[in-house]
Point group: C2
Chain length 189, copies 2
């Protein structure tokens, strides 16, 4: 009976070490996860940018950040890099919706649909669906003058704004849903 | 001598009443001035807007708000309403600078220059000056997908963001000055 207290102490000490080790492992894992998810989100990007840094920042946001949803509403969408970014998000299993004008992106719309991405287009021949915005995970808005084209990314003078301000997000989320419904080809008119 | 203190009291009371009345008048005048200058600045505007409210809000911001400066950097600028708004600001004596692409607005550029407005244009034939932003009094940014055209205002699906966030303003002010310098036709190359 004299050995019981030291045994208890040893057990207690052993449990403490195990618990501590597990906690450290979990903490490190969470930290790594956070690090992996952390992507630089500047407030704005201007083009042209000879270094290519702004283009890669934008493409990285579009391809790597979405974990729940990616909603795109862009007039002209035919840049190869943008298409690859969209398809990579879709392949990761993240729901992607694309709204675009059907004036300039026929082949690219077909490519996206063939890849399984939902695409809806402006069916009016009189007026353009001229927006150039995207919403990541319903919490980050990318908007500006930039069409998602090679010339937009590598030639023109363009700007892109990036914001998580709910004051902007609310309106753009509503706008996206309204256009998504109004461009539904199956909806009864 | 016995009457002196009451006379002094009366004079003091009279001065107090005069001072009070003057203060109230000045306060009311300042309040009215503030009210007159107060213009609704929403966070965003979407088009089309059948009521015409968004169009008039935007035009009112451009024409009525600037008191120190109006810097415009818009790809296509040929809407009659926009031109009238710009010229009205210039006629009020507020310095106005316009940067635009020279691809689609020849006649309108001539109209603005004839009216005395400083206009500089993108001289590259390969790439577009595709921005669509303006900065009022170096403190309010208007930016988005909207070209300053009749179709932009009354037909297309478009958005405009309005912000006084210095985090955005800094970059756009810098961008404007850089383009203004680089499009100077008199600068030695």
């Amino acid at each position: 009976m004299a050995g019981t207290p030291p045994t208890r102490s040893l057990l207690f000490f052993f449990s403490l070490v195990c618990f501590g080790t597990l906690s450290v492992i979990l903490l490190l894992k969470t930290k790594n996860k956070r690090k992996k998810k952390r992507i630089v989100t500047p407030k704005h990007l201007f083009f042209p940018d000879k270094s290519g840094h702004n283009a890669s920042t934008l493409l990285n946001l579009i391809s790597s950040l979405p974990s729940h949803s990616l909603d795109i509403c862009v007039y002209c969408l035919n840049g190869k890099d943008f298409l690859e970014a969209i398809l990579s998000v879709h392949k990761r299993g993240v729901p992607v919706r694309v709204i675009t004008d059907n004036e300039e992106s026929y082949v690219q719309i077909a490519t996206l649909r063939k890849g399984g991405v939902q695409v809806r287009t402006n069916m009016s021949s009189s007026y353009l669906m001229h927006h150039k915005f995207a919403i990541i995970d319903r919490s980050l808005l990318i908007t500006g003058s930039l069409n998602w084209t090679r010339q937009g990314l590598n030639g023109n003078y363009e700007n892109v704004i990036i914001t998580d301000d709910v004051g902007y997000l609310g309106g753009f989320l509503k706008q996206f849903e309204e256009l998504w419904e109004s461009f539904d080809p199956l909806a009864s008119k």
